[in-house]
Symmetry: C2
């Protein structure tokens, strides 16, 4: 059975060594240590080797690559080597630098499908944190400029003392099923033939299951009892910083009525059709890519007997 | 089997009628309509009737109760009546007002255990949103004062145009189990005899299951494979705005080593002891209250055969 560990962008391995984040002396030493492992980010994009399969890894010589922005401490590898992501200033150019010819800063979605699970996770974690810093430089409590601390995992306000932590926004992404059929939807802006699971942000005061049922009704007019929801697995999604929670819901109704601001259309397909979609043989629907949790939700349901 | 629907503070019923949030004319009309249902909040506390079992409900006469702060639209009841929470200015006093003698603004935790599930959910949803407004009056992107919109469900920045949505922070709250025992922990500041499940915020770049395993190891030195995690149910928790996700994890080790900043102690108890804890007959441990999801996690495990 598929678990969250098997979903792309999940954490591999799991040693974030978070106790080091508050140890400024340790961090300063670690980034210059002989065994340090550093990769670069710029504008939310990781520096990927020309083969598309690896990040470009640097050692302590990263200090020579400037101008730099934030340094994010991401944990330790199995041998205890510290891992950092360094955000490069937008003015930095690979051409003419020591890294000329090493690879390219690459769109995160494209990069993630080529990288190993561990490298994809490290780059997407760094992306989440750096986008959060980029979009939250001020204190939401008092309006003053806040400062990065704890190796990139926190901001503090020097004016009012407020502490700010990275956001992780839970999203319910659900496959409504009924009578051996499941419901797919598509947004107006999507490529022709692309259909996926419905999804929406979890709001204050509701559970994951209730959010799934509410979104299903709001977007497609289909009713479901939240108590019928089955949790499958989840995926950290760095665009910008969601936690996609995969749910299968038993629908109570079948008549589709789409909310045009959200969806262009929604349609029921049979389990056989779902298998065709995943096999790439469906006449007019292609599946969400394996990097997306929607792919794995559809797969989990399609592979069941009935 | 217990589902998220059965957990205190979950949403009952589920009609948030979110499409009305953007309709300013509808909202203005609704708050003054004959059938409107309004309760009051002040400093995060709902106004609860003297019997402790009901919110104090007002109709359109709420307009006479001033000075008011935000009006939060919470949805519609089964008959289609609009429901609002109105935040009262900190200077408002019940004494001498039209509401003198009707009840008291009551600590949310205390109030929640007396109110019906629906009223507890409405008050705690309002509390989450109001605390978010109170703590995020400025735009984190540019530092300007931001403005409430969409009936309390969004803030927009008039200076840079950034949109801000309420936070919902996922928390993994886990019961580690091994050999018919489970692990409880206690923090130094807790009352004597109080032990609970371990918990921690989900970070960017990890799944719920990975967060549970990481926190277990960080706080208690116990190792577990995230793939062993079993999702149980979740609870919206308005202190200030978390989503508590209940998980059972199979521990791989038993030797406890607590991180003193987080826990004072952790201990293994047998399933029989867990049943005693829940029955109130354990000699030196009492259970988390039924309002807390930890209570229901312990109960779900204790009630299993083995």
């Amino acid at each position: 059975m598929t678990t969250s560990n098997d979903i792309p962008l999940a954490s591999h391995p799991n040693n974030r060594a978070a106790h080091h984040r508050t140890d400024e002396a340790w961090l300063q030493n670690a980034i210059g240590a002989d065994n340090v492992l550093v990769f670069l980010m710029q504008k939310g994009q990781p520096l990927v080797a020309a083969n598309g399969q690896n990040l470009v890894w640097l050692g302590p010589e990263v200090a020579k690559i400037t101008p730099q922005g934030e340094q994010i401490f991401l944990g330790e590898d199995k041998a205890g080597a510290p891992i950092f992501a360094v955000d490069m200033d937008p003015t930095f150019k690979l051409e003419g630098s020591l890294l000329q010819g090493s690879g390219d800063f690459t769109d995160m979605r494209a990069a993630a499908s080529g990288l190993s699970p561990m490298e994809a996770n490290l780059a997407s974690t760094a992306r989440s944190l750096l986008e959060w810093h980029r979009n939250h430089p001020f204190c939401a409590k008092c309006g003053a400029k806040s400062e990065v601390t704890e190796a990139g995992w926190k901001r503090v306000c020097p004016s009012c003392g407020a502490e700010h932590f990275p956001r992780t926004d839970p999203v319910a992404i659900m496959l409504a099923v009924k009578d051996d059929k499941c419901l797919l939807g598509r947004q107006a802006g999507w490529p022709a033939g692309f259909w996926s699971a419905l999804a929406g942000f979890v709001e204050p005061g509701e559970t994951l299951e209730q959010a799934a049922a509410r979104e299903l009704e709001e977007e497609a007019g289909i009713k479901a009892d939240p108590a019928s929801a089955e949790y499958l697995f989840c995926q950290p999604w760095p665009f910008p910083s969601s936690l996609m929670v995969g749910i299968i819901l038993e629908a109570q109704t079948t008549e589709v009525s789409v909310e045009q601001d959200e969806l262009e259309a929604a349609r029921w397909i049979t389990r056989d059709e779902a298998r065709q979609v995943l096999a790439g043989t469906h006449p007019d629907i292609y599946a969400p890519p394996p990097m997306a949790v929607a792919h794995h939700i559809l797969k989990a349901w399609a592979e069941r007997d009935s």
